[in-house]
Symmetry: C2
Subunit: 418 residues, 2 copies
């Protein structure tokens, strides 16, 4: 478009925007929470462990203290889902975020298996943050006072040339990853990326790959896509103790009441169990048993995920179709087209993410804050916005996307003309 | 007894002991776990939140993410039980031990509200441990490399003259307490002790009173004994931020699947919530709601505790009656006679706790390790042993106590004669 055409378009979009102002909207596509229909879908889980059930697992009554690392049926279930061995699985409480935080907290207070000393005794801890990424991961880094280092995501995962350069610094102690349907881009790490990560030789002997496999079975379109097991990849590459993998049923059963696990090498497991046994007698094994009975096995769990996809899929289709129709022809933004996960991530025209967010807010559409997908909330290009369509009803998603596209266009046009 | 009488008694007890050897016993009174009858008593809790329940609390669906500090009905319930305000209550996961560990871990990684710096940055952290005490408390101190300082328990609580002297050292950062039915002695802190604790002026501005009110409503004999609220006592004394109180339903509903809380001042709550929000989106609110519905209020909860007492009381009566009959006339050991809690603590004849434990083990009776009630497992007098009669059936408790008394006598007689 030439300047005149841009001005014409701007005037049209400004008019659309003024109309939105009058509607008194109150829309929210800010957080990756499942919607009520998904919660109702799985609420029969509350019926699988009534009084009078068999509460014994082997010699252990799940209602009593003990079995700190989790009951065997839960380990077996998660091992099958993550394609690893049951003995590599630690079953914890209701949230993988807590397990991730705790792993890093223990690195600070006690050190990891191969640490020379607790990280709290170090001058500086640096951490690799693929961007855009998950705000709660970055918040952990910030809370512990780490120096975060941004590495851009490519369509195949983090830019591994940059990562391989960064790990030569012994102060660089770890790296976040959401390897399948990355938060927020929805990118699946390529096999080459995974192998390069597994084969890294970081200067820090206690470097830790945080492998948040939050969306391991979370396709919302099409069939389940198998994904390489990071534990055996690291083992093969001679780095068995470099990785902790995390997963949960937060978006399989219930976000507030699921079961979370970490998976790691036998040596890491022995080390962590010695530390965790000081902290916990046991996690909620009745909920572990409830989940093992409800989800049964991987095949049965994947069938349940198809039902979630039946609810989520149309919402994501609305998001992607609207972007394709309204934005793609203009070339003012780019995005991945994920088939799983909980987000669509938009790279707005540079320098317009905050303004787009503000415009949305002003007419009643709440989105994840601009910058939230970067450490310290600082998006150097002021470009990335995250769309989370899972919680609202389909018609709300549709309305929200119309508003969003109008605001995205308005911000870009104003920038182009300025 | 003169030497000859002692030798006669020894010969009699040795014969009894030899007979025990032949019985092939396998008895265990080692840990304070509720027995199966208690678990069955409360298993109707599994029926109170079936599918189709009303999962809304105010505007929040307990099945979804959010409400990090716990749902209001659970706060109200615990506030009534602990005699404090709902806004002073943080409702966490299934175990108070995890909340206690986490409070101390945060002191190390981030510092407490009034800390100048995180404790990990300090040369030395010292901690007051009333002895005998709870092994899992002491294990936390050991895990973080604290210097533990033993303070003897009196019949009124910890020796406060010693405590008041110790807190003049700014490196002394905190103190464990099980103020009602102390683990293991079953002592109830006197009002004077409580007021002296609440009125302390420690040199360390971030000194923390860890108030593990594990047995706040856990009478196994007689009526509920009201107990002063430590939060308001500290507030009155000008120390509102000096205390964190902990409690759980582990021995009210289910040890593996209860709900745990901490209670603290508004300023501490604000500070801790800021830190915990990095670590957790929410705890299991469905289990919180299940508990609020099941326990209803303090009165209803106390009625349930009476039913637990109906199961526990006779076991404790067996322990205390056997000791009174077999040991009291000999004057070779002393013990409290608690009316609540989960333990009876025996002060054996000095220098015989380990030997008594060994003798028990040899004939098939497992007890908590001698020394376990002291930091680092070091009982300077080799005197204290802990009896936990809750888990085994009544007839097992009877048999175990007969064995225990024989071993206690045998060890004392051998010591007296040597």
């Amino acid at each position: 478009m030439n300047r005149e055409e841009l001005l014409g378009e701007l005037s049209k979009v400004e008019k659309e925007y003024e109309e939105l102002k009058g509607l008194g909207l109150n829309l929210n596509i800010a957080r990756g929470k499942p919607g009520k229909e998904q919660l109702d879908l799985v609420s029969d889980i509350f019926d699988v462990l009534p009084s009078g059930s068999d509460f014994m697992v082997g010699n252990d009554d799940v209602r009593n203290y003990g079995v700190m690392d989790g009951i065997e049926p839960a380990k077996v279930l998660f091992a099958e889902i993550l394609d690893t061995k049951p003995e590599n699985i630690f079953v914890g409480g209701n949230a993988s975020l807590q397990l991730m935080y705790d792993t890093i907290a223990k690195a600070y207070t006690h050190g990891l298996l191969h640490s020379e000393k607790p990280w709290a005794k170090l001058e500086k801890v640096k951490w690799i943050c693929p961007v855009p990424g998950y705000d709660r991961h970055f918040a952990i880094c910030e809370s512990f006072g780490m120096e975060t280092i941004n590495v851009p995501m490519t369509e195949l995962g983090p830019d591994m040339d940059k990562v391989e350069e960064l790990i030569k610094d012994p102060a660089v102690k770890g790296m976040w990853n959401v390897p399948k349907y990355s938060n927020p881009d929805g990118i699946i790490y390529s096999e080459e990326t995974i192998n390069r990560i597994a084969s890294m030789k970081p200067a820090a002997k206690d470097f830790v790959v945080m492998w948040d496999n939050a969306y391991c079975i979370h396709e919302f379109e099409g069939d389940y896509i198998p994904f390489p097991d990071i534990l055996s990849a690291c083992e093969k590459a001679g780095n068995p103790d470099m990785v902790f993998e995390f997963a949960s049923t937060s978006k399989v059963t219930l976000p507030g009441a699921g079961v979370a696990v970490f998976a790691c090498s036998p040596a890491n497991m022995e080390y962590m169990k010695k530390l965790i046994t000081i902290q916990a007698i046991s996690f909620d094994k009745t909920n572990q048993l409830r989940h093992a009975l409800y989800l049964k096995d991987k095949e049965h769990t994947l069938a349940l995920m198809k039902k979630h996809a039946g609810i989520l899929g149309p919402k994501f289709k609305t998001v992607l179709d609207t972007l394709e129709r309204e934005i793609e022809p203009l070339g003012i933004a780019s995005w991945q087209k994920p088939k799983g996960g909980y987000f669509v991530s938009i790279n707005c025209y540079p320098g317009t993410a905050k303004e787009t967010w503000r415009l949305c807010k002003e007419v009643g559409l709440t989105m994840t804050g601009a910058g939230a997908t970067y450490p310290h909330g600082e998006d150097p290009d002021d470009s990335n916005l995250r769309i989370a369509p899972s919680l609202p009803a389909p018609e709300v998603v549709k309305q929200a996307m119309d508003v969003f596209c109008t605001c995205l266009k308005l911000a870009a046009l104003k920038k182009l003309i300025a």
